[in-house]
Amino acid sequence: MWRFLVRTVAQRLVLLLVISVISHLVIHLAPGEPSAVDPMNPMMKAADIARIRQSFHLDDPIYLQYLHWMRDLLSGELRSFRDGLPVLPRIWSRFLNSLPLFLCTTLIVWTASFPTGIQAALRRGSLYDRSTTFIAYTLISVPGFFLSYLLILWVVRTFHLPVIGLHTFGTENARGVVRVMDRVWHLVIPSIMAALTGIAVLSRYVRSQMLEVLGQDYVRTARAKGLDEDHVVYGHALRNALLPFVTMFGFLLPGLISGSVIFEQIFAWPGLGLLGYEAILTRDFPMILTLNFMAAALTLFGILISDILYALVDPRIRLE
């Protein structure tokens, strides 16, 4: 077990290094410089551009730029091109904004899709099964922003309530209860919208997994023993159907950064996705690279966690 851990972590670190080199190359070799963000600005003289390029090390050879980036990132000294502020504290504060949205979304996805999927599997071929299948495909196919805009339109017109942002403008000095309720209300709609696709995908997966397990011999044995149906379904079938989902916990992690660009943009939610979007607009290379790097690190970490979890829940698997 420990040997496995050490070896995989070492492998993943090498992989991470390769990823950081490739993303650095992609971003630096693509056309479009940070100094070219505002080409029409008459205040930008050639001398200024040269000075900016100089201070950002943009004239150095590319491997030196990579080393500069790595050194600054590891020492925590990395500064944004846009405003010269340190990158890591800002990412941390945006992370704290993204976290509630992410947790709420995940909670909704996992609590909603299991009952839906299990019911669909138990009543295979029924009207319920066919209609949830169709609704799931519809939710997978609808562009998220399209549905969100329709929902915003409806909520604003019907309830005359604001839905954009972290909280309602002007409630900063309100009583504690009001502020908390306001925050919760602003959290609900974006997380439901972000959860819909997840519910659709996961409930389909739960359904097929349950169908697979319900056809097994041990389920028939459990029924033959005379156990009541609930015990068979939840005690015997569901427990075995759950195995593959353990691994999916790990794959959730990278969604924290890259999964939410669209929804954070629609709901003006100042989280990591929106931070990345702003960084891309201003060609803030250190910010883009660091977010990219963190997303890749989270992905690798997530895979590691799912490997370990899988070995913990399934005794047939040995980590060697």
Partner: protein, 334 residues
């Protein structure tokens, strides 16, 4: 996907189904088997009909918007701006400017352009974004997967080709895809071809894995051994004998990938990095319509619903194919 059918119980395997005699008389080709299973799936068939209709519509739209002047999607008719669907053109328009039949079936946008004409032009562009992007990803995926599957055992120095290519696939899988697409599209000069290429380059990993697994299984099959024994050239073994047999799972994922590519294009347009004018795509009609969502909701709802229907059709066809090609499921349903 192509796991052989193993009779689960001896007793069941001995039961000869009714109509077996006819089935023995004229053995079905694999294509006929899949088609028979596919035809029973009503949702998937609906999807297929929608897709065929869409292809016709896209071709028709391309012809109409290119050749018929009054149908030009770029024609600006300022007196007729923001008209709701099914409204008639005003008399203020000069001669030769009035739309076909004097009405706008889908209304007009903020410049008085005919939304129907723009949607028709967009259907061709959106469809080709999806299809070209998926062709690129299929090309890369089949090349990488096939190479790793067929030549995987050979060594390049200390590591085998297989582990080299597959580790590379893992690396690409770790990139946050949408974020990467966004970055690259924002940095590159805006063009529809760049978007197709970037979507293609970032979505080949699944295909590569499928093809590799299929190739490794196929290599051990008798017909490949026979082909090698016959002394056929390697390219012929790979492309004539192995690739067609490995295509089943690839076809399923390709169908679903087209849906994903169309959605990605619309999401990019929404964020302002999409296909630029003069090309109209459904994505950028939708993104432009956002500004008029209160005054002219049809500018938003029409392209949005069109994307929904088409992506849904692709997904349904893909899932239908997956079920039809799965021999286990086919046995159960027939």
């Amino acid at each position: 996907m192509t796991t052989p059918v193993i009779p689960a119980q001896g007793a069941e395997a001995m039961v000869i189904p009714a109509g077996a005699a006819e089935a023995l008389a004229a053995p079905e080709t694999p294509f006929e088997q899949v088609w028979r299973a596919f035809r029973k799936d009503r949702l998937a068939m609906t999807g297929l009909v929608v897709l065929l209709g869409l292809v016709l519509l896209a071709l028709l739209g391309k012809l109409l918007t290119e050749w018929w002047v009054v149908f030009d999607p770029a024609t600006v008719r300022l007196p007729d701006k923001l008209l709701p669907p099914l409204s008639a053109a005003s008399a203020a328009l000069g001669k030769g400017l009035a739309p076909p039949f004097g009405m706008y079936p889908f209304g007009t946008d903020e410049l008085g352009r005919n939304v129907l004409a723009r949607m028709l032009q967009g259907s061709f562009v959106s469809l080709s974004v999806g299809i070209v992007a998926v062709s690129i990803s299929l090309g890369i995926g089949i090349a990488v997967g096939g190479f790793a599957g067929y030549y995987g055992q050979r060594k390049l120095g200390p590591i085998s080709i297989d582990s080299l290519l597959m580790r590379f696939t893992d690396v690409v899988l770790c990139f946050p895809t949408f974020f990467l697409i966004l970055t690259v599209v924002a940095l590159l000069p805006p063009s529809i071809y760049n978007i197709m290429i970037v979507i293609g380059i970032t979505s080949w990993m699944g295909t590569a894995r499928f093809v590799r697994a299929e190739f490794m299984a196929l290599r051990e099959q008798d017909f490949v051994t026979a082909a090698i024994a016959l002394g056929l050239p390697e390219w012929r073994i790979i492309f004539r004998h192995m690739v067609p047999n490995a295509l089943a799972p690839v076809l399923v994922s390709a169908t679903i990938d087209v849906a994903y590519a169309i959605l990605t294009e619309s999401a990019l347009s929404f964020l302002g990095f999409g296909v630029r004018p003069p090309f109209a795509t459904w994505g950028n009609i939708l993104a432009d319509g956002r500004a008029y969502i209160f005054d002219a909701p049809w500018l938003f709802i029409i392209p949005g619903s069109a994307i929904l229907v088409v992506v849904l059709a692709f997904n349904l066809v893909g899932e239908g194919l997956r079920d039809a090609m799965n021999p286990k499921l086919r046995k159960r349903s027939s």
